[in-house]
């Protein structure tokens, strides 16, 4: 009733091809953006910002990058953690080695380091595909673990192997408070998400999807597999690298190579699969599911236990968190194998014909 596009006539190609062709969607998204930019920093407390929203935003950005590679181009990658690590250490070295380097260019340069690394480790995709490629990209993960643990130059010869950044500034403004950091991450995410959305709707995005759906057929109709695959690796690892730099600089602020272990690669892949392959909004859902749900369970379980008068130990809470989390993953994948984003679009469709479903 409220959510119907009847009467919204499109008179230009521009109107027809915009990201949200339905007016209600546009209003909703503008309201959401305004809420995220204005209301959240005013209302949310420090814990919510620092421990939940900032990691969620950064992981959404990373999942977005992984989704371009895995979801849109169909190249399964287990090297996402490595791309994040290269982005983080690249940006770190740019920031500390070049005097007067501002933060945003350092992040972009970090992303470019990850881009070069991604192309290098994307080369096997020209020969191997599917699970074999996943194994080949795992090499990127081990290689990154190795260089940042062993080559002291990257960590500025710090004896503990751990590096840290502080006194970050953006355009001369200090990036100190939780709200500032949140806004900075949100801004980066909004810009990259808009670029990514437009990229996947463009010719190159259609090339990626053609390669994903059937690479032989795509080659036959004139799409260059090498160009398409490597460009997907490049764009994806650039975004993941920037996310890695943000994760290290803004969220952790002091980190060691273990922060970008293979575990992170798996988590990113799960985010994309659970959120929805080949869907920008799915990356956000997936990140929310993987980042926020465990923390939420960790806090709700003792409270739930207290209601029924049971005192659950922290170890039991932690075990229960894993079990419930795992069960939910399985349940979601059975109920909706196409991910949370498909549930979202089904919901929208239902809403469109409500209250008279046919």
């Amino acid at each position: 009733m409220l959510y119907r596009e009847n009467g919204q006539l499109k008179t230009t190609y521009g109107a027809d091809q915009q990201i949200f062709p339905i007016a209600q969607d546009r209003w909703l998204i503008w309201a959401l953006i305004a809420f995220a930019f204005i209301a959240v920093p005013l209302l949310a407390d420090e814990y919510l910002l620092r421990a939940i929203l900032i990691p969620f935003l950064i992981m959404s950005l990373a999942a977005l990058g992984v989704n371009i590679l895995v979801g849109y181009c169909g190249q399964i990658s287990l090297g996402s953690g490595a791309f994040m690590a290269v982005g983080a250490y690249g940006a770190y070295n740019m920031l500390v080695r070049i005097p007067g380097m501002p933060l945003i260019p350092a992040l972009i340069l970090g992303g470019l380091c990850a881009l070069a690394f991604g192309i290098l480790f994307g080369l096997p995709s020209l020969r191997v595909r599917g699970l074999y490629l996943a194994v080949a990209t795992l090499a990127a993960q081990f290689f990154a673990d190795w260089i940042f643990l062993r080559i002291k130059w990257f960590t500025l010869d710090s004896p503990s192997g751990s590096v840290s950044v502080s006194n970050l500034q953006v355009f001369g403004l200090p990036l100190q408070s939780a709200a500032d950091k949140y806004l900075f991450c949100l801004g980066m995410l909004a810009v990259v998400a808009l670029l990514a959305k437009n990229l996947v709707r463009s010719a190159i995005g259609r090339e990626w999807m053609a390669i994903r759906d059937m690479d032989v057929a795509a080659a036959v109709i004139g799409i260059r597999p090498m160009y398409a695959k490597l460009s997907a690796f490049a764009v994806s690892s650039f975004i993941i690298g920037m996310a890695g730099a943000l994760w290290a600089f803004v969220h952790l602020s002091a980190w060691e190579p273990a922060a970008f272990s293979v575990d992170l690669s798996f988590r990113l892949l799960f985010m994309v699969i659970i959120g929805g392959l080949g869907s920008i909004v799915g990356s956000f859902f997936g990140a929310a599911f993987i980042v926020v749900l465990p923390i939420f369970l960790n806090q709700i379980l003792p409270a739930a236990g207290a209601i029924v008068g049971v005192n659950i130990s922290t170890a039991a809470v932690s075990h229960a968190e894993f079990m419930v989390f795992g069960a939910l993953i399985v349940w979601f994948l059975i109920v909706e194998p196409h991910g949370l984003s498909r549930l979202w679009s089904i919901g929208k469709q239902k809403l469109r014909i409500w209250p008279f479903p046919h």
Partner: protein
């Protein structure tokens, strides 16, 4: 801000926070958050450690609190993961009127929290571990590696090795291999051992083992080939027992393997056949099944069904470490109360003064019932570590035997390194050293 934030939080999050606050909403209490790891690959080390912590707090409350102020504590499970540790820190730092102090129980989490603690004005306590450079109290105002750090561990460890060969001068020309957990914790050993190697002219080979440390075949192959005189074991969790098993299968004599406190707990050696002869140099407390405080815990808590873990672990090295960690946290508050008012709840800034002016002498240690397993602790504004004492214990197949006198970390070796590391940190972070006037605060 706080009221407004409650509006935004979802109904469920509000439910959580309101419940957990109401559970401990009583009169005067001092809130100690705990970052524990009872799950994950390092849980065997984490559980007794956490149990010791909690038992000590229970004991303090049984005896009437800190001059009447009850101790409140809350655990947050980190699984030894840095990102969860940061989340726990953010979750607990503002609860119940503010966290008094954070004990990270992990070197990785310490690194992530050092700056946050500085910014938020919450002391970070790391007795026996953490960031060794933070002993420099003039740079690290909020960090306290009281009574020892990994550098102190490394220094006392090499002293013990020297004792075994008959003096520091006899180390000349010896080959010593360092088998370390490839994490900030393990790497902390290298600078001190390298400095000692230069001073006494022995050959040091550092062999890293990556997390979690179950695959050490290549490392032991290297040890077999180079035949070092001693292997210094800097392992954690499952890495320790694996190393001892590998030592046995390589045929490396176990009495030439020397560990430190993270590689010297009962869980590391208990189930390992052929671990006998292995010794570990433990800074701060060692195992103390017969210590006064262990007896007290058994009598006042376990016999009444109030104990936190299995009764058998009371007195284990890591359990005693938990007791000692909690003791330092409480004693700091007690010390602060002497200045800021007895029977008052201390703010983190007031507690910080207590940690900085800690005076736990022999007399106090025996009052606390822990005198037979550890040495006095003192801290000053300049030196947040204070004198660091360690003792070697040798596993005889069923229990740890004391096998050395008290070894003291040599300030002549450590102080210049701490100063240099502090200066480097200060220049990186644009910090200035604290003035003497600031020390009075």
């Amino acid at each position: 801000m706080n009221k407004a934030s409650a509006n935004l939080a979802t109904v469920l999050v509000m439910l959580v926070s309101s419940l957990s606050v109401s559970a401990i909403a009583q009169d005067k209490q001092q809130y100690f958050p705990l970052l524990t790891f009872r799950t994950g690959p390092y849980a065997p080390s984490g559980s007794p450690w956490a149990n010791g912590f909690v038992d000590y707090f229970k004991l303090v409350n049984l005896k009437g609190g800190i001059n009447g102020v009850r101790v409140a504590w809350e655990e947050c499970e980190t699984g030894y993961a840095t990102d969860r540790g940061v989340e726990c820190y953010e979750r607990m730092k503002g609860k119940n009127g503010g966290a008094t102090v954070f004990q990270t129980m992990s070197t990785g989490i310490t690194l992530a929290l050092t700056e946050r603690g500085m910014a938020d004005g919450i002391p970070i306590l790391t007795p026996g571990y953490g960031l060794s450079a933070s002993a420099d109290g003039e740079v690290f105002k909020w960090s306290f590696p009281i009574g020892g750090s990994h550098w102190a561990s490394a220094d006392t460890q090499i002293q013990y090795v020297a004792q075994k060969v008959g003096g520091l001068d006899k180390l000349k020309g010896k080959k010593i291999a360092l088998l370390y957990h490839d994490s900030p914790y393990g790497k902390e050993a290298i600078p001190v051992l390298a400095a000692r190697a230069k001073k006494h002219d022995f050959e040091l080979t550092a062999i890293p083992v990556s997390h979690p440390g179950v695959d050490q075949k290549a490392a032991w192959l290297q040890i077999r080939r180079s035949r070092p005189d001693f292997v210094l074991l800097w392992g954690w969790g499952v890495m320790n027992s694996t190393a001892l098993k590998e030592a046995q299968s390589t045929g490396f004599p176990r009495d030439h393997v020397v560990g430190v406190w993270p590689s010297g707990s009962d869980s590391d050696v208990k189930e390992v056949a052929g671990a006998a002869g292995y010794s570990a140099v433990l800074v701060l407390p060692g195992p103390g099944f017969e210590s006064t405080i262990a007896k007290e815990v058994r009598e006042k808590l376990h016999s009444k069904g109030q104990g936190s873990g299995p009764k058998e672990e009371v007195g284990e090295a890591l359990y005693m470490r938990g007791l000692m960690n909690a003791m330092v946290a409480v004693e700091g508050v007690r010390r602060a109360q002497e200045k800021f008012g007895k029977g008052q709840v201390m703010t983190p800034a007031q507690a910080r003064w207590g940690y900085e002016n800690l005076q736990i002498d022999d007399k106090r240690l025996s009052q606390l019932g822990i005198a037979d397993v550890m040495q006095p602790l003192t801290t000053t504004c300049k030196n947040h570590m204070g004198p660091s004492a360690a003792r070697a214990y040798t596993w005889n197949g069923s229990k740890w035997d004391v096998s050395s006198e008290w070894l003291h970390a040599d300030p002549a070796v450590l102080d210049p390194m701490i100063k240099a590391a502090g200066d480097k940190y200060a220049s990186e972070k644009n910090l200035t050293r604290r003035t003497p006037a600031d020390c009075q605060s």
